[in-house]
């Protein structure tokens, strides 16, 4: 019943699907901000509740996955249907290893802000060069 209704709304569903595959832009789109202490990733996830969002970090990559629900029982026919729906998975590689215990995720008004601090052992270490007295040419 539902399938038939969708078909009626979208007679060119297969063409749309083909178009979708050709001109695919990954969802969600991300912006990445970096400094020497970590990475901040922001992503627009309208309609995704925090319980529908799964964030996994592994060494130097982070994976966002979840589902967008747009189905509704009360719809009797669509005039427009443009919003994306269904499951999504997106993996972003980071320039360094992150500390998984310090990752903070914040989802406000459909915008995710993901704070990924760099792991302490991955940070560059400054090596102090000691001038040895014996080696001095004085």
């Amino acid at each position: 019943m539902v399938a038939r209704m969708q078909y009626r709304v979208y007679p060119f569903r297969n063409i749309r699907r083909l178009q979708d595959e050709v001109s695919r832009v990954e969802f969600p789109a991300v912006n990445v901000f970096v400094n020497q202490d970590g990475v901040i990733i922001t992503a627009e996830l309208p309609g995704v509740r925090s319980e529908d969002l799964d964030i996994l970090t592994h060494r130097d990559s982070v994976t966002l996955s979840g589902e967008r629900h747009t189905e509704t029982e009360e719809a009797q026919g669509y005039h427009r249907r443009e919003r994306g729906r269904g499951r999504f998975v997106r993996t972003v590689s980071l320039p360094f290893v992150v500390d998984p215990n310090k990752v903070a995720a914040d989802l406000v008004n459909g915008v995710l802000t993901l704070d990924l601090p760099r792991a302490e052992e991955d940070k560059p270490k400054r090596i102090n060069v000691k001038a040895s007295k014996e080696a001095g040419h004085g």
Binding site: V25, N31, F33, P46, G110
Partner: protein, 156 residues
């Protein structure tokens, strides 16, 4: 009087209708759509996007669902005037301080879109709610206006 008003709205709305015609074509499936700017000047320079929407009929009226990521209820403006429904959502730039942008897939900007509704709707019965960056607008149809017969008196 009323007639003059509608014709005025009609001529005014012509350029608007053109941009609406562009909107009626199905947008690409992913990515943000930049809004076509009309002649109106803006007070701050920032991109404006067309939000993706679902519009469907229910038993009692019409429901408009719009993706407005980053819009808070304070920054949202919904107006219905002469059957023109306007949605405007202001988005605050939230680039983190002390960081430089390494990679950009989307731009931050406001959202704006308008629709011309066909049929009469009950303006006072509109329910709007904004949750997780998605606006739900339930617009009930007006109860059918009682037909009014106008008596024509002949002047003879």
């Amino acid at each position: 009087m009323a007639k003059r008003e509608t014709t005025k709205a009609g001529t005014k709305g012509e350029s608007r209708q053109q941009s609406q015609a562009a909107l009626t074509s199905q947008p690409e499936l992913e990515g943000k759509l930049s809004a076509e700017q009309d002649a109106g000047e803006r007070t701050h320079e920032r991109p404006v996007f067309v939000p993706r929407v679902d519009i469907y009929e229910t038993e009692t009226g019409l429901v408009v669902v719009a993706d407005l990521p980053g819009v808070s209820s304070a920054g949202l403006e919904v107006t219905l005037e002469k059957r023109v429904l306007l949605i405007y959502g202001r988005v605050e730039e939230n680039a983190p301080e002390g960081y430089s942008q390494a990679y950009r897939e989307y731009a931050v900007g406001d959202f704006e879109r308008q629709f011309t509704l066909s049929g009469d709707f009950d303006i006072n019965g509109i329910e709007a709610n904004l949750r997780h960056g998605v606006l739900h607008l339930a617009i009930p149809r007006a109860p059918e206006a009682a037909a009014k017969r106008i008596k024509v008196t002949s002047g003879s």
